[in-house]
Symmetry: C2
Amino acid sequence: MKIQFDQIPEVVTPNMRGGLGEVAGHTFLDGDNRIVRGILRPGSTIGLHTHDTNSEIIYILAGTGKVLCDGVYEPLAAGDCHYCPRGHEHSLINDSDGDLAYFAVIPQHATGTWPTSP
Amino acid sequence: MKIQFDQIPEVVTPNMRGGLGEVAGHTFLDGDNRIVRGILRPGSTIGLHTHDTNSEIIYILAGTGKVLCDGVYEPLAAGDCHYCPRGHEHSLINDSDGDLAYFAVIPQHATGTWPTSP
């Protein structure tokens, strides 16, 4: 199936997870995955939070910013991929003057190991 | 953590899953996720396969192609997002004259439902 982000209403969330400013996102959700095309506005942040039973993979589409992951700052620019594994914490930060556009997948996980041939 | 695709050796796979031509990919793998930045060469395909315990989310970075998912063809272009949910089947097809570049996440899933606040 194709996820038609443009047909999913945009939701603007202020102070996401206790962060600053706002996030505008189109979100698809089912029992396994949360899939988002979002924009973190200039000066905004998604507050520090831990992924207990899921993880998050963020691919930067446009703009610049940084992420604070397990106490380490990582710069982000278009084409970069940030990964917050299960059990780890992160905060997404747009310290630039422009929008930070991203594509994110937040999957729920089994406790089993990866099969040899997925 | 940042996934440094450029520092992950490129692996060229011919006839992936019984498909045509070849795929060139940089793959990160842990127990929860397989994360890939890949190129499906012109005229190449990834053969039809079912995601039994995992799913696949593909974001198209460049080029055009199509996917066959549960018997339905879906055109793909840069900025499109294809989702093959757990238990479903798909085949990725590059029927163009140029490379089809994509970012893919293949997560392993729990059987539980999505929590109210992930």
